[in-house]
Amino acid sequence: MTKKREMIFSIVRAALAILISLVVAMLLIFISADGSSVGEKFKMTGEALKQLLIGPLFRVNANGVSFEGKRLADILSAMIPTIFTGLSVCVMFSANQFNLGSEGGIMLGAFVSAVVAIYYPMPAGLHAVMAVVIGGAVVALVMLVPAILKVKLDVSEMVCSLMLNYVIMYIIKYLMNNYYADKTKGQIQTYPFLNSSRIASIVNNPVINSAKLTWGFVIALIAVIITGLFMYRSRWGYQIRMIGINKDFSKYSGMKVGFIIVISQVIGGFLAGAGGGIEVLGRYNTFSWSSLPGYGWTGITIAILAGNNPYYVPLAAFFMAYLQKGCDMMATYANVPMQLISIVQAVIFLFFAAEQFLSKYKQSLVVKTAQEEIAAKAALSKEGGAANG
């Protein structure tokens, strides 16, 4: 297919996928809307739709529609942890390692960074960097467990990392309860981070500040570029991808397969851990997560939507964050119950990620292009023949 046709198809497909899922979503909203008359229900559904689609960026009310920088900041800031887990999953899945440890990884990274941020004073700036790096490094080390077990003993990394998530969570809870909790507080939380470790906001406006759009976002984008270069322009990343495609081939080619598999998970762990550190140091004053945060699963979704390509991760993360914000807006302004949102979200990305969706249309485009090519070739050879003769 030509590049142009391919692009048109992608756009049409995405638009239709979203349209269908919106219809399904609106149907659900319509059914559950507690208006008394059908007309009222319609109105509420329309309101919900408006909030879902443009609410994430615009304030919609009686006074009309106005752009809200704060909401954009919210969306961008929500992308910070998911870009990191998305990248983490990209690297590991590229090596065909279904390591689900980003979930525990981001929690552990957050915790370790928090401990560094609270107990080890350092000069401002350096402190944040060290906290995040140490957080990432610890998770990288922990990821050695599934990685080495996989390489040496052929233990399923998926199962091992899944179990490891729970072990990490409980150990953190234990440590928090017994050693790190600030007992003067009602919930289990640490003492506040030292100021030197905080990650500053990009925009200095008190309202937008509360969105916590920190320099972490810029770091996340830099991480995208570095990971992209790493995966597509460096020999390590190349080997990771080749191993993911065909392990036997890689071994035969002389790659140190076991080592690279370990490396991929260590890097995945580092990214998740660093993401955790950046998230807590940027967004919170204390560490208070008491269960797995869910960013790991979102990361998997993002990596799959991005086709394991780091460069597409920010796009996928934006899509997820926008969707999330739209759903929040529905909950806030359109009275749509918050739990419906998980259904709406699931439906939307199910369709969005459906590969075969509109396959017939795609095939017809493919055929058309191929036929055009053949015709063009035939014409060319005829011309050539005429010229020769």
Binding site: R235, M242, G254, A370, Q371, I374
Partner: protein
């Protein structure tokens, strides 16, 4: 006129979802009771055409008429119900299941709600008897030799009542004897009124067994011929579009010092069968040492051993004096060893990666391809463009996915990589298996060229003609042992070789010892 054809495929077009137009207006007919050859270069669209006849792929346009009735073959089960059976180019067997289970898959005999295993075995035995294709019903498919696998495939089709049998390169993996046996059976089937489509790249076979030939090139039919009316040379020209040299010209070898030295290798497989029995030989600079033998006599194990995929129980192997046993592939490659693997899809390529990425897999750490922490993309592009050109890889661009190339072009990618990394020793295991005459010619020429430039080549091939023609000297393996050594292949006859290969004759240890040049 329509009546005399059991199958008519009219103006068949097939565009795959990746945009490859594999068939472009192909017409193909089968007469009742004939053996019909389908020939063409790798990627000409033979398998594609047959897959559509078997309902595995759907034509983009065109019509299929079976026994005079226009038919839509929407799935293999429809094709099976129309009496069509297919033996695929690559095995379609479930390795962990037994022969009998594979045989009855999808139509298992039952006792109550359970499978009647005894009945399945009985059915298998009966049919094996009936068609004279001997298989062991209770063995796991993973454990049986390739020859038997091929028989299982053919029986599978016959058991399902196929009257039209499509055989996609069935002889690619068979020994001469097995091929003979198969041909006898095919002739037998033909006499019983079966119609057979026979795909092969081996011209001798085509001439020997088929009645008519359809030749394909570039997704189009180049016409239908009575086999007896066309010569091998004409067929080749029709397929390739130019004259093909069927015999490789080569100069006298001038062997230099020993590169690979193997001494007393012994190996037991998982089932404690002795696969290598005190194997010793040397390969010298500038010579091609061939290993002949019926497949399954230790050749695969030997190559595995030399490339670090398995460890011997005893014995040594050195390259220029440095041991390679129990070394990793990377270290072995660093010593200057290249391997053309037997199974190109499994080891030779990463199918979803680009051609370019497949070219650099063995040298991704090389200094000249890296600039600091990153690849030197320009150097890589240059390398791959050069290789595509030198090795005549038919592709749109080096950025194309390797997996979408046809078999022959995939093999060229492998060969290009393995030949271009300055090897001292090339292990070539079945380098031309299942690829067309054009590509075969090209690869053989390259191999000779390299050896004459001073590279040691160890050639393993099940194709007797190939080993005899290419090798400067030759050993024969039987039951894991070297049973003969010939320092000159010119005077050899096929019959003599056959006797050694089947273990009917064996040279004395002293005579064999001559292959060790120390």
């Amino acid at each position: 006129m329509a009546e005399e054809y059991v199958v008519q495929m009219k103006k068949i077009e097939k565009v795959y979802s990746n945009g490859v137009a594999a068939n472009q207006g192909v017409d193909f007919n089968l007469k009742l009771g004939e053996i019909h050859a389908l020939m063409g270069e790798n990627g000409a669209g033979k398998s594609t055409l047959m897959k559509m006849l078997f309902g595995m792929e759907q034509p983009t346009s065109g019509e299929i008429v079976i026994n005079g009735e226009p038919t839509v073959l929407s799935s293999p089960s429809v094709a099976i119900s129309k009496g069509i059976g297919m033996v695929h180019q690559h095995f379609m067997l479930v390795p962990s299941l037994s022969v009998a289970e594979n045989m009855v898959l999808g139509m298992a005999p039952r006792k109550g709600i359970f499978i009647d295993k005894a009945k399945a075995i009985e059915i298998t035995k009966e049919n094996a008897e009936k068609y004279n294709l001997h298989v062991d019903p209770e063995m796991r498919v993973a454990d049986i030799p390739v020859g038997m696998k091929q028989k299982v495939e053919i029986l599978k089709a016959l058991i399902r009542g196929a009257k039209i049998l499509i055989l996609d390169e069935p002889t690619a993996v068979l020994t001469a004897q097995e091929t003979e046996e198969l041909f006898r059976e095919l002739t037998h089937l033909k006499q019983q009124g079966y119609t057979i489509v026979f795909i092969s790249h081996k011209l001798n076979e085509i001439k020997e067994i088929t009645d008519r030939i359809t030749i394909m090139r570039n997704g189009r039919s180049m016409g239908v011929y009575e086999t007896k009316d066309v010569t091998k040379e004409e067929i080749s020209r029709l397929m390739v579009g130019r004259d093909v040299v069927l015999n490789v010209q080569k100069d006298e070898a001038k062997p230099g010092e020993t590169i690979l030295s193997v001494r007393d290798l012994e190996y037991l497989n998982e089932w404690n069968k002795k696969m290598l029995d005190k194997v010793s030989f040397d390969v010298r600079k500038g010579e091609i040492l061939g290993i002949a033998g019926v497949e399954g006599n230790g050749q695969k194990e030997l190559v595995d051993m030399l490339f670090g995929f398995a460890r011997p129980m005893a014995g040594t192997a050195t390259v220029e004096g440095k041991p390679i046993i129990a070394k990793g592939q990377q270290e072995i490659r660093e010593l200057g060893v290249s391997l053309i693997p037997e199974d190109r899809m499994l080891y030779g390529i990463a199918g979803n990666a680009t051609i370019e990425e497949n070219f650099i897999s063995d040298r991704c750490n090389a200094k000249n391809l890296n600039k600091g922490p990153l690849f030197d993309m320009k150097a890589i592009h240059n390398l791959s463009e050069k290789l595509v050109e030198d090795y005549k890889v038919l592709c749109k661009s080096p950025e194309q996915q390797v997996g979408m190339l046809s078999g022959g072009n995939i093999q060229k990618v492998v060969v290009a990589r393995e030949f271009s990394n300055n090897p001292k020793l090339i292990l070539a295991n079945q380098p031309t298996r299942g690829i067309d005459v054009g590509a075969t010619e090209f690869i053989r020429k390259k191999l000779v060229e390299l050896s004459r430039s001073g590279i040691a080549v160890l050639l393993v091939s099940a194709d007797l003609a190939e080993v005899m023609e290419l090798s400067d000297s030759l050993i024969v393996m039987h039951n894991g042992k070297i049973v003969a050594y010939f320092d000159d292949t010119k005077k050899l006859s096929d019959e003599e070789m056959g006797e050694y290969m089947l273990g009917l004759k064996e040279m004395s240890p002293e005579e064999i010892r001559r292959v060790c040049h120390d």
